[in-house]
C-alpha cells in the first residue's frame, strides 16, 4: 500500500455527544478517483470535514501521504496540499472571481499561475473575472470552486456533492474536469448522493449508510448494491 495518499483509519465523529460516523476505514491511492455514495444523513459531509480537519474526530486517525495529521489545523492541511471543496458552493460570494482565485494562492502557487490554470480549464471564468462571485450562475460558481483544485495542484482533493443542484450536462462537464485532474496524479475522494455521474468517473467506490461503510468495490460491482442501500436494506 505504498502509494496511499489519503487514509482514514477507524474514524469516529459526532456532534455534541451524538456519534454520526461510527468507525470508517478508507484508502485513496495516488491518481485514483474514489467515490463514496450514500443517502442523505449518512455522515458523508462529516467524514469529509474530519479529513480536512474542520471537525475533530472522537477516535481514529487521518493519514495524509503517510503522515498522521490528527490535530493539524485546516489551513495547515490546505497549505500541505489537501483541498476540500465543501458542500454547497465553495466560494466567497462577496468577492470577485479574481479575488476568489487570489485566495487560492495560500497553498503556494503564484497568482499568475492560478489564473492561467483556472482559465485554461474553465474559459468561462475569464470573461467574468471582475464579476462578484455571488452573482455567477450555479454552474459557474461550482467551476470557480473547482478552479481551486485545478490551480493549486493539491496532492489530495476532496469533493463534497459536486453535482448538487446542477443540470446533468453541467455535472458531466465538471466530472470531465475531475478526471483530468486525477490524471495529473491527484488523489480524489468524492462523495455524492446520486449515483450515475460519480460511478462513471470513479475507479473505486464505496457505499456509506448510517455512518458506516457497508460495501467497497469497483463501480460496476456496486451498481447492484445501490438500490438496496437507498431503500434502507442495511
Amino acid at each position: 500500500m505504498g502509494d496511499a495518499l489519503l487514509e482514514l483509519r477507524g474514524v469516529r465523529a459526532g456532534y455534541g455527544g451524538i456519534e454520526v460516523v461510527h468507525g470508517v476505514d478508507l484508502v485513496v491511492e495516488r491518481g485514483q478517483v474514489f467515490g463514496v455514495l450514500g443517502p442523505n444523513g449518512a455522515g458523508k459531509t462529516t467524514l469529509m470535514k474530519v479529513a480536512a480537519a474542520l471537525h475533530p474526530p472522537t477516535a481514529g486517525d487521518v493519514i495524509v501521504a503517510g503522515r498522521r495529521v490528527n490535530g493539524a489545523t485546516p489551513d495547515q492541511l490546505a497549505r500541505a496540499g489537501l483541498c476540500l471543496v465543501p458542500e454547497g458552493r465553495g466560494i466567497f460570494p462577496n468577492l470577485s472571481v479574481r479575488e476568489n482565485l487570489w485566495m487560492n494562492t495560500y497553498a503556494g502557487a503564484s497568482m499568475a499561475d492560478v489564473e492561467a490554470a483556472a482559465y485554461a480549464q474553465f474559459p468561462r471564468l475569464k470573461d467574468r473575472r471582475n464579476q462578484t462571485a455571488g452573482t455567477l450562475s450555479g454552474g459557474e460558481q461550482q467551476m470557480l470552486a473547482l478552479a481551486r483544485a485545478v490551480a493549486t495542484r493539491p496532492a489530495v482533493l476532496l469533493l463534497d456533492e459536486l453535482s448538487m443542484g446542477l443540470a446533468p450536462q453541467l455535472v458531466e462537464h465538471l466530472y470531465d474536469a475531475v478526471v483530468a485532474i486525477a490524471r495529473q496524479g491527484v488523489s480524489i475522494l468524492v462523495v455524492e448522493q446520486f449515483a450515475k455521474t460519480v460511478l462513471g468517473a470513479a475507479s473505486q467506490a464505496a457505499i456509506m449508510v448510517g455512518g458506516r461503510i457497508v460495501k467497497v468495490g469497483t463501480p460496476a460491482e456496486l451498481e447492484d448494491e445501490l438500490s438496496a442501500a437507498y431503500l434502507g436494506g442495511h
Binding site: G14, G16, G17, I18, E19, A52, L54, T73, P74, D75, A78, R79, C83, L84, P86, G90, I91, F92, P93, N94, L95, E99, W102, M103, N104, T105, Y106, A107, R148
Partner: protein
Amino acid sequence: MQLLWTYIVSGLTTAAIYAIAATGLVLTYTTTGVFNFAHGGVGMMAAFTYWQMRFGWHWPAPVALVLVLFVLAPLFGALLELVMMRRLDGTSDTTKLVVTLALMLATIGAATWIWNPNEARPIRKFWENSVVTVFGVRLPWHQVIALILAAVVAVALRLLLTRVRLGVAMRACVDDRALASLNGARQSRVAMASWAIGTSLAALAGILIAPTLNLSQLPLTLLIINAYAAAMIGRLRSLPMTFVGAIILGVSTDLLKGYADRISSWTSIDSKFLSGFYQSWPIVVLFLVLLLLPQNRLRSHTATRNREYIVKPTWPGTGLFVGIIVGGAIMLSYVLPKADLFSLNKMWGLGIIGLSMIPLVGYSGHISLCQLSLAGVGMVVMHHMGAHGNPIALVWAAVVAGIVGFIVALPSLRLSGIYLALSTAAFAVLMDRWIFVLPKWKLFGYSFDLFNGGNLNIVKTRLFGMRLTGYRSFFVFASVAFALVVMVVVLIRRSTYGQRLIALKDSPAACATLCMNPKITRLSVFTISAAIAGFGGAIYGQAMQSVTPQSLDFVAGLSILMVMVIGGLTSPGAALFMGMFLGSPFVANVAGKVVPSFSQLQTVLVGLVGIGLGKNPNGFIPSDIRPNWNIFLKHRAALGAVLVAFVGLWILRRADVFDNWVFAWCCLGLLALAPVVLRIITKEPFPPRREPGAEVPKLSVPVDQLGLTGPVSDEDARTLDQMLALPSVSG
C-alpha cells in the same frame, strides 16, 4: 448662509473623527464577529498615552504619534486577540458582550488609576493657532488634518481590502471563515491583523478628539462611543455607509449646537433644558438608528455548545439563605461601630439592584445596561413622594420605575444581543447626561424639579409609625427588604413563568412554535426587573441620603453588572456578594492597606476578572460555592451546629472577648472550613471540580446508544446528571 456653511464644514471635521473610530469598529466586527464595546475605552487609553509622551515627557510629536499609532496600539490589539478574543469562539453573544464590556471597564479603571483624574491635562491641538480658509470658512489646521486623515484612512482601507491579499482574506473571512481556512489562510493572523488595525484606528480617533475637551477618562470614552451610531448606520457591515453615517452624525451634531439659540427661540424652550440633549445627540441618533434600521440579522456566529447553566434554587435552601441574611444583619448591627454600619447600609440597596438583573439578564439573557438608571428613577420618586417618610413611596418607586422600564422595552422589543445592550446603554447615558441634570421647569402650571438641582436628598422611610432613622433599625430593615426581593426572584425562577424565560433564552424560535408570545414575556420581564431596580434604588438612595447624578453614571452601572456576572448572574448570592464588594468600605479598607488608591484598582480588578469569564461564563457562586455547601441541606444537624457556632462567636464578640477583626476572620474561616470538615466526617465525596473550559465529562458510549447494550452504569448516570445540570440522583 455663511453661518450654515460654517457649521457644515466644522461638522464634517467632527464626522471625520467619528468615521475613523467607526470604521475600526466595523472592521473588527465583520472579520471576527466580536462587537468591541471597549473600542471607546481603547481610544481613550491611547489618547492618554499620547498625552503622557508628548506633554508629560515632552517627546517630539512625530515620535509619540508613531509610537502610539503604529507600535503600541497595534500591539495591544494583537494581544487582545491573542489572549481574549480567540477564546470567545463558540461562546454565546452574551458572553462576548460581557467580556468586551469588562475590557472597557478595565481600561477606564486603569486610566483613572494611572492618570489622576483631578489633575488638569491640557492637550494641544496640532498647529494650534494656524488657520486656513477653505471655501470662505476659516478652519483650524487641526480640523483640516482630521479631514485629511479620514480621507487617508478611507483610501488606505479601500486599498488594503482590495489590493492586498491579507485584506482580501479579511473580506473572505466575513463571507465564510471555514472556507478561508480551507484555502490555507491563517484565521488567527487575519483576526490579529484586523484587531491591530481596529485598535490603531481607535487610537487615532482618540488622539484627534481629545483636544476638543479636557483630557478626562469617562467623557473621552463616551465621545468615542458616539461613533458607534455611525457604525450602526453602516449596519456594522458596510464601510462606505459607515462614512455616510459619520457625516450625518457629525454635521447634525454641529448644526444642533450651532443653532441651539434659534431652536430655543422657535420652540420657546429655554436652552438650558436642551443643552444636555445636544450633548447626548449622538446617543439619541444611536437609539433611533437601532430602532429604525431594518434588522436583517447579521450572520450570527452561534455557540456550538452552550457552557452556561441555570440552577434551580429550592425553598428550604432559600429559606435558609434568607434567614441567615436577616439574622446575620441583626447580629452584625449589634457588633459594628456606627460609622461602619452607616456606610455598610448601601450594600442592601445595591444588592436589590443586582437582584433586578437576575430575571432579565440571568434567566432571559437580555443584557440591560440601564438598571442603575432605573434605580435612579426610583430615587427620584422616593425624593418627591417619600419626603415625610411615607412608606407607600417605596411602592411608587417600584411602579414608576416599572413603567419607565416598560416604555424603554417597548421600542427595543425586536432588539437582542449587542443591539439591546447598545440601546439600553444609550438610555442610561441619556438619563445621566440629560434627564437627571435637567434644571427646574414648569409645565401646565406645575413645577418640576426632578433631581433637585443636581442633588437629591432622600429621607428614610417610616414603618408602622416608627421612623427608621436609627442606623441599626435601617440596616435591619434594608436587609429584610433584600431578603424579600430574593424570595421574589426565587419565586420567579421556580414558576412556569421563569421556565418560560429560560426557554426563551435557549431558543426563541422554538418558543414561537410553541405558541408562546415572546413579546409579552419580554415586556413583562423588563417591567418586573425595572420595578425591582426602582425599589432597590429607593432603598439605596435612603442609605446614601444624598445622591448626585454622577453616582448613577454609566460606569457605575457597568461595575454592578460586571460583579454580578463574576458572582453568577443566576444566583441571588451574587447580589449579596456584589453589594458587599461595591457597597461596603471593608474591601477598600483592607485592600487599601496593601495597594494605595485601591478604589480605582477595584474597577480594574473587576474588569480583569470579567475578561476571564470567556472561560467560565457561569460565575463562581453556582460553579464553586453552591456545590460545596449543598451537603448541608442533607445533614441538618451539621447545619445547626454551624449556625450555633456563628452565634457563639457573636456572643463572644459581644462579651468583648476579641475585636471585630478577629470576629471577621473567625467567621470567614468557619465559612471556608465547615463544608470541608463535614465532608471529611461523613466521608462524602467532594464535588467534582468544574474546571473552567474543561471538557464536559464523557459517556462511555454515545448518548443515543446509552442503555442499548446493557443497563446504564452508575458512572454514566452521574455524568448525564452533570451534563444536564440536574441534582444528582445516583449519589
